[in-house]
Homo-oligomer: 129 residues x 2
DNA sequence: CTGAATCCCTGCCGATACTG
DNA sequence: CAGTATCGGCAGGGATTCAG
């Protein structure tokens, strides 16, 4: 076999990408991008709802009663900006806006599954007691 | 075919677990547990370093020069609490403490990979321009 | 119905200084 | 070398109020 990509070491389990070499948090790092999309309280619950299908603003509020208007609005804006979901405003009265996941948003399913699996395998609090 | 688990609906892509039904953020939700372990600036970079092998406090500081003592200390405590890494203090002088991932910590590799893959597939900022 | 604007409180993180 | 103590700035998130 030949030598392997001279000039940098191969790191086990890490992508061979320059963005994997940053020495400080960088918004262009894919991991940061993903965590930034998931960041914040309520975010994953909103995504969970939308993974089940299209929802309206009020539909989301009904599903998550303890979530305030402001934060829901913030989350929807954040997730729209992150390319996770799309708004579809229907003309007429009363105003109705439907939110649905983009293809990129649907791809969060496996990501959340990976997070779930890891968390489910974690010890309840601390191993020691 | 027979009926399927009467009493609740099957949700596509979501685990059949009561913790998947919460209507507000819950510390016992596996996704929350995982995100809580990864939460905070610098956290994933510290994990990345330790995925490459055991490190000392100073070793981590050298790898991440812009990371302050306090935050590094915070992160190491947080990750220890989360069961991601272990401290090994060596007796004698000068004091040397080694940090290494636990088996549970190593399992974060695939999780970070999933996050990376999703973030790498995301549009740079917003699709529209 | 679907949000945006404001206020306040809390928790995070960076800088600095200090200890075993 | 390996941390902790303290402080200040800033962003996140909840409650309330107002607007299209």
């Amino acid at each position: 076999m030949t030598h392997q990509t001279v000039g940098h070491r191969v790191r086990p389990g890490l992508p061979d990408d320059p963005r994997a070499d940053v020495t400080e948090p960088s918004p262009s790092c894919p991991v940061e991008i993903a965590l930034s999309a998931l960041r914040g309280r309520w975010t994953t619950l909103v995504i969970r709802e939308l993974l089940q299908g299209e929802r309206t603003f009020t539909g989301l509020r009904r599903a998550l009663p303890a979530l305030s208007d402001k934060v829901l609005s913030d989350r929807l804006a954040q997730l729209t900006e992150a390319g996770v979901l799309e708004r579809h405003r229907e003309p007429g009265w009363p105003p109705r806006t439907h939110y649905r996941l983009t293809p990129q948003g649907h791809r969060l399913g496996p990501v959340l599954q990976a997070l779930w699996d890891w968390g489910a395998a974690a010890p309840p609090v601390t191993t020691a007691s």
